[in-house]
């Protein structure tokens, strides 16, 4: 009775040990394969706080909602006749038009850059480089505005430059 019990227990123990070994090996290989292929990026599926905390939303702002959208569309639509006009006339004859076109192009570019940063370098995923790039863009936009103003004031202006370089 007792000998058979010893035999049974030792047998089951060895089987158990082997199965534990096998499952741990499998688990290790599987984990390695998945973690290699799907490396963690910040902003991944981890919880901040607990499972019972509600999702956080950005604070509501009219300038980030439909107004922003409508402004983008109006600016893009306004650029269509402005581009046609730039082909028809020269900026040197109408410096005010040259100034408005330059400013519109810069704001249009800034919005385009900004939405690209929001899409590809969101601070949720890129907590350091995201804000750095966003502030770099803001500084570059201000610098570009000053540069275009200087060029339009002290030189021949953007439309005239493009026209002359094109036929140079």
């Amino acid at each position: 009775m007792s000998s058979s019990l010893i035999l049974r227990s030792s047998l089951s123990k060895s089987i158990l040990k082997r199965s534990i070994f096998r499952s741990s090996m499998q688990g290790r290989f599987l984990r390695q394969a998945t973690s290699d292929r799907f490396a963690y990026v910040p902003g991944g599926p981890i919880y901040k706080g607990t499972v019972n905390d509600p999702t956080t939303f950005p604070p509501p702002s009219k300038t980030h909602g439909s107004y922003h959208w409508a402004f983008e569309r109006l600016l893009s639509a306004a650029l269509v006749p402005m581009t046609v006009t730039a082909f028809a006339t020269s900026g040197t004859n109408y410096p005010l038009f040259d100034g408005i076109l330059g400013l519109s192009l810069i704001i249009h570019s800034h919005i385009g850059f900004d939405s690209s940063i929001v899409d590809y370098l969101h601070p949720r995923k890129f907590p350091v480089i995201g804000p750095i790039i966003r502030w770099t863009l803001r500084a570059a936009t201000v610098g570009t505005m000053v540069g275009v103003y200087q060029f339009n004031t002290n030189d021949i202006g953007l439309t005239e430059l493009i026209a002359k370089v094109w036929t140079a």
Partner: protein
């Protein structure tokens, strides 16, 4: 009782009476000394649950996304609208900042002189590189504005307007190249 003691049967009877219990005790001793519980328990704090869950969530594979789609005119046109726009904006920002930093080097006279001195092949290549994104972004931008106003929002509309944009881009690029 008296008779059993008198007969001398007490030891054997006692053994019979106690032997199953003794056997049971022996079995328990053997079992506990040989076998071990394979399941171990561990006490956890309530907040440890979130830590374990987060560790598990990091093991989860992410779904395949745009790489599994075949290139189609709809989304390829959309991403090229962004790429061309960013490229042209880089040129605007680059030139304006360069003029801001070094107005003596990047003034119109020097730029026109530099471009005028380039060989014809480089001029045509440069015109092509500039005209293609400019015309594509302009025409596709109009297409996007038409979508935003609710037009061409069918599959047929998306494709016919897409081919119209490609055609207009090709023609206007060639026209601008030989200006």
């Amino acid at each position: 009782m008296l008779s059993t003691r008198a007969l001398g049967l007490a030891p054997s009877l006692r053994q019979a009476a106690f032997s199953p219990a003794r056997n049971h005790v022996l079995r328990n001793v053997i079992r506990s000394s040989i076998t071990k519980r394979s399941i171990q328990t561990q006490s956890l704090k309530p907040e440890d649950g979130t830590t374990i869950l987060n560790k598990q969530r990091l093991q989860r594979p992410s779904s395949p996304h745009f790489t599994i789609y075949e290139p189609q005119l709809t989304w390829v046109g959309s991403i090229f609208n962004r790429i061309t726009g960013v490229g042209l904006s880089f040129l605007l920002y680059g030139f304006s900042l360069a003029y801001l930093v070094a107005p003596g080097t990047f003034d119109s006279t020097h730029v026109i002189e530099f471009v005028g001195g380039l060989p014809d092949a480089v001029k045509y290549a440069g015109k092509f590189i500039l005209a293609l994104p400019f015309t594509f972004h302009s025409f596709n931008g109009i297409r996007h504005l038409l979508w935003d106003s609710g037009k061409f929002l069918t599959v047929k509309g998306a494709y016919s307007s897409g081919y119209a944009v490609l055609g207009a881009t090709a023609i206007s690029t060639i026209v601008l190249m030989f200006q």
